[in-house]
């Protein structure tokens, strides 16, 4: 039985297939989006994503970071695989070969969806850059559409503080977005 509330670190060090599936569900979309925006096409991004998660699966028990979130760890793996692919012109298959993974075909529909995902993942990446309190407040207000008063109770702060965090978070997102475009 996998605890879906477990941290990335706990899931990785648990080391079983079910825990890794939960970990994959948490991260697969942003990894694919991140790689799509840096790869020449959706197919290349899909190929790299498979290699990144194969490497993560192979190395999960060696996760040494004290961070509960494995976001930075996955980002490092993805950057290295991407860098290697850009140098050689193709995604390496080392981790997949070691695991004897079968190829997963990419259809035209998949490519279209991967392209769409890349747009969404920009926002997700920008959110990751926000301080935790602002990110939590923005998600609670904008994504979950909770009332300020409810968020204040949940987060144990005053309503004014929540409003300030949401406001600062959105300003931060806007500044980062403008820098990118």
């Amino acid at each position: 039985m996998v605890n879906h509330e477990a941290t990335d670190r706990e899931l990785l060090l648990k080391g079983d297939a079910a825990a890794f599936a939960v970990f994959y569900d948490r991260h697969a979309e942003w990894v694919l989006g991140f790689l799509r925006r840096r790869s020449p096409d959706g197919e290349a991004a899909a190929d790299l994503t498979a290699e990144v998660f194969a490497a993560a699966l192979s190395g999960r028990r060696r996760y040494r970071s004290k961070n509960a979130s494995a976001h930075a760890w996955l980002l490092a793996i993805a950057s290295n695989k991407l860098n290697s692919a850009l140098r050689s012109g193709y995604a390496e298959r080392r981790a997949r070969t070691r695991l004897a993974m079968r190829p997963v075909e990419v259809t035209d529909d998949d490519v279209a969806r991967i392209d769409a995902l890349a747009e969404v993942s920009v926002v997700v990446e920008l959110l990751q850059d926000l301080p935790t309190d602002q990110r939590t407040a923005v998600l609670a207000r904008i994504v979950d559409e909770n009332e300020y008063a409810d968020i204040a109770v949940t987060q144990g702060v005053s309503e004014a503080v929540v409003r300030q965090r949401v406001s600062r978070g959105l300003s931060g997102l806007r500044r980062q977005w403008e820098k990118r475009v």
């Binding site: 080391g15 079983d16 297939a17 890794f20 599936a21 994959y24 569900d25 697969a28 979309e29 694919l32 925006r37 840096r38 790869s39 020449p40 899909a46 994503t49 498979a50 998660f53 194969a54 490497a55 699966l57 192979s58 190395g59 028990r61 060696r62 040494r64 970071s65 004290k66 760890w73 490092a76 950057s79 290295n80 991407l82 860098n83 850009l86 140098r87 981790a95 070691r98 695991l99 004897a100 993974m101 079968r102 997963v104 075909e105 990419v106 259809t107 529909d109 998949d110 969806r113 991967i114």
Partner: protein, 307 residues
Amino acid sequence: MTGHRQPWYLDRLRGELERVAAIEDQRERSPTLGRLRPALDRMRPSPRMLAALAAVLALVAVVLAVARESDVERPVAAPQPTPGKKVLTDVTDVDDAVRWRLDGRVLTVQLLPFAPDRTVRMVNGTRISATCGTNVALSPADPRRETTLTRLWPAGQTSLSYRFPRDVSEWCRLADPAGRRVAFVRFPGASSAAGPAAGLVTETALKWARLFASSPGICNEYMVGQPVCEQMMCQRVGAPKPIPNCTRPNQAYTESFRGATVQEIAIKGDEAAARFSNGETIRLHWQPNGDWGVTKIGGDAGRGIFE
């Protein structure tokens, strides 16, 4: 998983990952028995066979007694456990297919049966060095921080032991005579900054400089991360468009690294900087696989590390 009803790429990839993860789980649960069982099932030892086995074992015992003084000739060079002495660390690295066993100051490295051919070829009949490190609180320049022992890895042997003169309980790096990494381990409980330090930073910086001088404008194998490669090409990766106000390194600049020597290095956590004899500085970042990679060249690459 993705909120879509139709299975799509990420769902199918998930399925495949689950399949291989389950196989890995099974392998992890019965690492030895699982592989031996089919062979054991086939064997039906007769009394005659048992007698022959006993004779062979006795012969092996005699050979071992004769060879006791030679580390290289010990059976798979495994250290004999000292009664009452605790095995400190036993780490299996599935990625490199290497098992590391640290018993006090004796390190035993064992190639696992599924080790890649490349690794086997690298070590077979070659002098393999084990550079291992201790407490990172020591200054990077302190020679006690890391120790290197080199031994011949006999052809066909699957493991080798190294007896260190001091504590090496933080990390170890195995390398071939050309300095190429065979495997790396950071032992449980080691500091996150533990790793090959001064020697490897210098070595990486020199290798990078040689390649940089001979292949200008190329993102070479010692450079890691997208920013440094984009800086090299003055072009965004993925969406090929020029980076504004970016100047590609000119020939005189790259040539200045030819024959340059490392004059000074500094290490701060996972970051390091190296200053060359041509006055240029590069920044390096510690990689999870035990290597250092160049992340920034020139300009303020040493900022926050040298000061």
